[in-house]
């Protein structure tokens, strides 16, 4: 199977304003980035502010050239086969801009469908289909300036689909959406995946990444830190399963007994009265669970490290600092 996206040694720098006396003449937004996005997958791109996510999206959207390296979209070079690449991609970014606010939703879609080469009957048909899909049929003849943020975002998604792209680039599409709209948005993404579209999604939302992505890539400082299935990527920080429990009263003896069980590798306190046992395999987990039930522990849960933990561990807890 061909990859929808393939980058090899991708580097992109921006020249800095000489007048800003930072001492540097350029910023490196992407550093030797190698990335593959399989056709038909939903691929999440995670990283802190300034990691280079938007830069990558722009390069794939052909609005920015790579400084070095090779970038292919469905096997086509973004540099030399730009026109062909443009027919295969759609872009959607978060925020309120990018729409003709004095036109209606329907007029906006008519226009973009025509720009993507459709003729009049097809323009109309595709527009209606898109309005239907994003649930804007009832508001289609209202001017976009009166739309709420969530409605604008739906229209953005419809607009991104105007050319029936094989690859959809979604750059933080759910920023500013309320939880219900965000959930609807994710189910639309799911639907698109079922239709066989490839989706590259950048997000800061770990739950979003865990629920919709088949693969996630963590990037920071323009480099790939880790990549994998969001449900098993936890193995990067710990291969172990966890059992958490609440315990009232002295816990020392129980902890000692737990650590004596074969396959139990550690026990820590996560908050007052709540503890976590790490186990190397399923048998150890079972043994630990039955011991804990015997001793009267409550609120037992088993889990694996979640994406968020991986993220924090790899990227570091650097608070608001942006590089």
């Amino acid at each position: 199977m061909t990859n929808a996206v393939e980058t090899r040694g991708l580097r992109r720098t921006y020249a800095l304003d000489r007048r800003a006396k930072t001492g540097r003449s350029e910023v490196v937004a992407l550093h030797q980035l190698d990335l593959e996005v399989a056709e038909g997958s939903v691929h999440g791109l995670l990283g802190p502010n300034g990691a280079g996510k938007t830069t990558l999206c722009k390069i794939l959207a052909t609005v920015l050239l790579p400084t070095e390296g090779e970038v292919r979209v469905f096997g086509r070079d973004v540099r030399t086969q730009t026109r062909k690449v443009r027919r295969d991609i759609g872009i959607v970014f978060g925020g309120e801009r990018g729409l003709y606010t004095r036109l209606t939703a329907r007029q906006n879609l008519h226009y973009w469908c025509a720009l993507y080469g459709l003729r009049r009957p097809a323009v109309r048909a595709r527009t209606e289909q898109l309005l239907e899909r994003v649930g804007l049929v009832d508001r289609a003849d209202e001017k976009v300036e009166g739309f709420s943020r969530g409605m604008k975002q739906r229209l953005h998604l419809a607009r991104g689909l105007a050319g029936d792209p094989r690859l959809l680039l979604l750059d933080e599409p759910t920023t500013g959406m309320d939880p219900v709209s965000a959930r609807d948005f994710r189910s639309m993404v799911d639907e698109l995946r079922r239709e066989g579209k490839t989706i590259l999604l950048t997000t800061h939302d770990m739950d979003e990444a865990e629920t919709v992505c088949d693969v996630v890539t963590l990037i920071d400082g323009g480099r790939v830190l880790a990549a994998g299935d969001p449900r098993s990527i936890g193995a990067l920080v710990s291969r172990h399963e966890r059992v958490e429990f609440d315990f009232v009263g002295p816990v020392a003896e129980t902890v000692r007994d737990l650590l004596d069980l074969p396959g139990v590798v550690g026990c820590t306190s996560v908050s007052p009265g709540r503890h976590r046992v790490e186990t190397a395999d399923d048998d150890a987990t079972k043994a630990a669970l039955s011991l804990l039930v015997d001793r009267g522990a409550t609120a037992l849960t088993t889990s694996r490290p979640r994406l968020e933990e991986v993220y924090l561990k790899l990227i570091g807890d650097r608070g608001m600092a942006v590089r």
Binding site: Y14, A15, T54, K58, A61, T62, V63, L64, L65, R83, R86, R87, I89, I91, F93, G95, E96, R97, G98, L99, Y100, T101, R102, L103, Q107, H110, Y111, W112, A114, L115, Y116, G117, R119, K143, R159, G163
Partner: protein, 266 residues
């Protein structure tokens, strides 16, 4: 095939422009607001010219200011192209298969139509007050001269709008300076010959210079071949600027892709 697609892009962009225009003006607000304002401007400049200059140029000055109205409107392409950048649609347009030039060519055509209508009303309705009378046969020619002048100026404006797209804060300065310069140097207030020769050479490249000569010849009941030649020259200027503008749009997109100036967030 490719040509038909380009034409379709222009047509849909123009439809987009008309919808935009319709959202801004109603018939009434255009008629009483915009048209009224532009007509008063024609009267004002014509009368002001009478106080300053020789009365013999009175008729030319009226014709000049009337034709200038459609140029002023055509030059609004400079500002309205810059809106595209503020709306954040530029990167979406660049990443679409449509050419930027075709999009922008269609996107502001409403000004050409509205401007031609304004000038036409000015010439026909106000003409008699300034000693300009049109023979019925001349009326369609007036429309042709106005359309060519206005389209030619529009193409010139398209070229300027590429500059403004790179520095949107300049959009009003560029459009104002350019039409004030045209008003001053292209024969609207005083004949082109009044200025030093080099300025005259530059003026020859600007569509309104020729459009005005055609309209003046027509108003004076001049020979058809004289009018025709000036219309042709105005059209050639327009073609020149449309080619320059098309090349400039291509450079804009390429440059933006290189230096990262095609922004898409706020």
């Amino acid at each position: 095939m490719a040509l038909r697609y380009s034409l379709r892009v222009v047509r849909y962009s123009a439809q987009n422009a008309v919808a935009d225009f319709a959202a801004t003006y109603t018939w009434k607000s255009w008629l009483f607001g915009w048209l009224g304002r532009m007509l008063s401007q024609v009267v004002f400049f014509t009368l002001a010219g009478r106080l300053l200059g020789s009365p013999s140029l009175h008729r030319e000055r009226f014709v000049g200011n009337s034709v200038m109205t459609c140029v002023v409107e055509a030059m609004m392409v400079v500002a309205s192209s810059a809106w595209e950048r503020r709306a954040g649609t530029l990167p979406l347009l660049v990443s679409s298969p449509a050419g930027l030039f075709e999009v922008f060519f269609g996107r502001s055509l409403q000004w050409v139509v509205s401007g031609t209508a304004t000038s036409f009303v000015a010439l026909l309705a106000l003409g008699p007050f300034f000693g300009v009378h049109w023979a019925p046969a001349a009326v369609p020619v007036v429309v042709v001269v106005l359309l060519v002048t206005s389209l030619g100026s529009y193409c010139f404006g398209l070229f300027l709008s590429v500059l403004v797209l790179q520095a949107t804060q300049l959009r009003n300065i560029v459009s104002n300076v350019s039409y004030l310069a045209m008003m001053t140097f292209c024969g609207v207030q005083v004949p082109v010959g009044y200025w030093p020769a080099p300025i005259g050479w530059v003026a020859e490249c600007i569509p309104i210079t020729h459009g005005l000569r055609a309209m003046n010849a027509l108003a004076a009941g001049g020979r058809a071949d004289m009018v025709g030649q000036q219309v042709l020259e105005a059209a050639l200027c327009g073609v020149f600027w449309v080619l320059v503008a098309a090349a400039a749009f291509r450079l804009l997109a390429e440059r933006g892709r290189r230096d990262g100036s095609i922004e898409y967030s706020a």
